[in-house]
């Protein structure tokens, strides 16, 4: 029981200590950085937008619409939606 609590305590304290800015050793640097990158980078569910077959310009969309008799879905926005800067 006591051992279990101790282990849990270590698991909780260790990453907090790193985040709180305690010195990282050179040996643990690479693994720590790589893990932080993995946590930060976009997840598949945040990239669903990529599953849509986007056309590159409105005139190209209109050309394809006419050729294939499909309606156009046009979204106009501020910023850069593709990179989440919007």
């Amino acid at each position: 029981m006591t051992f279990s609590i101790l282990i849990r305590g270590m698991l909780i304290v260790f990453p907090l200590a790193l985040v709180a800015g305690e010195p990282l050793t050179d040996a643990s640097l690479t693994a720590w950085v790589d893990q932080r990158i993995k946590e930060c980078e976009p997840k598949p569910e945040e990239r669903r937008f990529d599953e849509i077959g986007w056309v590159q310009s409105s005139r190209e969309a209109e050309r394809l619409a006419k050729e294939h008799e499909r309606p156009v879905f046009l979204f106009t926005h501020d910023g850069r939606m593709g990179i989440g800067r919007c």
Partner: protein
């Protein structure tokens, strides 16, 4: 929109099967924008035709055009973002036009990708997330391309000796650190916003011809949430990472194999941010 209807499997399926989907940035369509003249003219036509048809029209908007290019319907972004609204709109259009289903007319592809990277350049992918200071539905990204000569300035000016340290050339570090900000309405990433910045490398070891150096640094920059509205917000971040590289030998310049950076303690205005940078 991206985190809402445009991530909804039903909307994705409808767009791919029945529509020609396209999104455009208003920045490209204003007077100084990079869109071709004909594209800008067409954009104006759609906007004015929507108004003439007594449909909603605006800058952040969904427009539905018939296969002949006539504006059939539209939605303001606030309305379009309501749950189920875009799916209902698309289904109604398909029903009205009796459009048969088919394959997507353009192959779905990652919408976040680097542009203009020449051979030998170092391409960096940056991800930034804000908490309590930004929209949090998905992260923002930046692609940073360092030409070969710029990338070389990440490396030591002299011999790669374990224990040695060097300051990364400020002109190179600022081109990375200037992108350390979360999702905001303001996308100005110019280095002139930087108040303080530094990246310093310390060589840990050289093994099998590859040097491994620890990188530490910081950035403090001014970044308003809305463009042109001075709110005094600052990004303040500690940066940690590493660079693996082939040291210069004789006349052969050194080459970066991998650069990885992350923020430690990092804040933006009232919230916190986390940023990662990874060479591709």
């Amino acid at each position: 929109m991206r985190a809402g209807p445009l991530s909804d499997p039903k909307v994705i399926s409808l767009l791919n099967a029945y529509f020609v989907p396209v999104y455009i940035s208003n920045e490209d369509y204003d007077e100084r924008g990079s869109a071709p003249k004909e594209e800008k003219k067409e954009h104006d036509r759609i906007y004015h035709q929507a108004l003439e048809a007594k449909l909603s029209a605006g800058t952040v908007h969904v427009y539905i055009l018939t296969p002949e290019g006539k504006v059939l319907d539209s939605r303001h972004v606030a309305k379009a973002a309501e749950p189920g609204e875009v799916a209902r709109l698309l289904e109604s259009v398909v029903g009205k036009l009796k459009t048969p289903p088919g394959e997507p007319l353009a192959r779905p592809a990652p919408q976040s990708a680097p542009k203009g990277a020449s051979p030998g350049s170092l391409v960096l992918h940056l991800t930034a997330r804000g908490k309590g200071c930004s929209w949090e539905d998905f992260p923002s990204e930046s692609w940073i391309v360092l030409e070969r000569a710029q990338a070389a300035k990440l490396l030591p000016p002299g011999e790669a000796v374990p224990g040695s340290s060097w300051d990364i050339y400020p002109g190179v570090s600022e081109s990375i650190l200037t992108h350390f900000f979360p999702q905001t309405e303001n996308n100005d990433a110019s280095p002139k916003r930087i108040l303080e910045q530094s990246l310093k490398a310390n060589l840990i070891c050289v093994k099998d011809g590859v040097a491994h150096a620890r990188v530490e640094g910081k950035v403090k920059l001014k970044h308003n949430f809305y463009p042109g509205r001075d709110d005094g917000r600052l990004v303040e971040a500690a940066v940690t990472g590493y660079v693996d590289f082939e040291p210069a030998v004789g006349g052969t310049p050194g080459r970066v194999r991998s650069l990885r950076l992350v923020t430690g303690k990092a804040t933006y205005g009232p919230g916190t941010i986390s940023v990662s940078v990874r060479s591709m």
